[in-house]
């Protein structure tokens, strides 16, 4: 043996790898009390019985994070595009229908109404229609947000 004791690095290697470390380590450990005790201490320090309890967060991390997740961009976009397409189709269809009715029966329906009264009536009708439409859209968006957050909470409980 060319030295008195094994180095810390060699002792750690012996403690972790046991039989797979160089044979001279084994020979030395068998004959040297100090190194054997040091190696045993290393083994004991990292044995399963000395393993501390794993730390745990003292709050519900899953729930807290899930409540803060943003609505996925792609889905929100897809939904808003759908709403615009449906809205535009309804407006175009309604416009075409009104135009057809107006063209085919304007003499019968509006024969005695002045153009000024007719214009005001149509403008008022369209304004009311637009205000109602915006209100419905806002309510729908709000309800969808509430629904989405409730779904997220349910999902986090279920998983």
């Amino acid at each position: 043996m060319n030295k008195e004791h094994l180095s810390d690095s060699e002792l750690q290697e012996y403690s972790l790898n046991g039989e797979n470390c160089p044979p001279q380590f084994n020979e030395h450990i068998q004959s040297c009390n100090f190194c054997r005790q040091k190696a045993e201490l290393y083994q004991l320090m990292f044995s399963s019985e000395m393993k501390p309890e794993a730390p745990i967060f003292d709050f519900d991390l899953t729930q807290t994070v899930m409540r803060q997740l943003p609505v996925p961009q792609s889905t929100a976009l897809e939904k808003s595009y759908t709403i615009y397409w449906v809205g535009a189709s309804v407006f175009l269809s309604a416009g075409a229908l009104i135009y057809l009715i107006f063209m085919t029966s304007r003499g019968f329906l509006f024969g005695k109404i002045t153009p000024m009264t007719l214009g005001i009536s149509i403008t008022t009708f369209l304004a009311i229609f637009a205000v109602l439409g915006i209100d419905i859209f806002q309510k729908h968006t709000k309800q969808m947000k509430v629904l989405q957050s409730e779904l997220q909470q349910l999902g986090s409980l279920a998983v």
């Binding site: 991390l61 994070v65 899930m66 803060q68």
Partner: protein
């Protein structure tokens, strides 16, 4: 569910499934956050921040490592940024061996291995020793605490630890060796204070 399927479904809009990822990985994240950050309030903020970052960047995950390793990496970088912000540098340990190392080892060896002591006494001694190890671990520099925890308690490989800490494998091994040595020296110091 496969990790890849889970991630693809979350990316397609099923964000509720992200809860499964949190449940799977929060053990590792807790180990990293608890070992690097002492303040409980800051730990809470950091843990949330880590998962919000993971969710935001989920589309950039390349499946080159385990998802837990990737989230561990986010956890480590987030804690490191916090430590920098608070001007808390990672100190290097300069632990020397105890002057009475030989006597202490002899005493410890007798206590832990002696068959003449009764069993209850042995159990009590080992429980006390476990507490001393924990106390010694808590006094180590954050990096050492973390590496010992990841390797010995979370049983991660050197490669996984290298990915999380963004350190070369050789550096991880070197730090881990120094960490074990520092822990052993501090344990002996604490132990000598206990018995004297």
């Amino acid at each position: 569910m496969e990790e890849k399927d889970l991630i693809n479904r979350i990316l397609r809009g099923e964000s509720a499934l992200f809860a499964a990822i949190i449940k799977q990985t929060q053990g590792l994240v807790a180990q990293i956050v608890f070992k690097l950050v002492k303040n409980p309030e800051d730990r809470k903020d950091l843990a949330q921040d880590i998962y919000l970052k993971a969710y935001k960047n989920l589309s950039t995950f390349q499946f080159q490592s385990k998802l837990s390793t990737w989230i561990g990496q986010i956890a480590y970088n987030t804690c490191l940024a916090y430590l920098d912000k608070k001007k808390l540098v990672l100190p290097d340990g300069h632990d020397s061996a105890h002057e009475n190392e030989e006597t202490l080892l002899e005493y410890l060896s007798n206590k832990t291995l002696s068959s003449t002591d009764n069993e209850t006494e042995q159990l009590l001694f080992r429980a006390e020793l476990a507490e001393l190890i924990q106390a010694a671990l808590d006094t180590l520099p954050p990096m050492y605490r973390l590496l010992i925890t990841l390797y010995h308690y979370e049983e991660l490989s050197y490669d996984e630890m290298s990915a999380i800490t963004n350190l070369p494998v050789g550096t991880v091994k070197n730090y881990l060796f120094r960490a074990r040595k520092a822990l052993k020296n501090r344990l002996l110091k604490n132990y000598s204070n206990e018995i004297l």
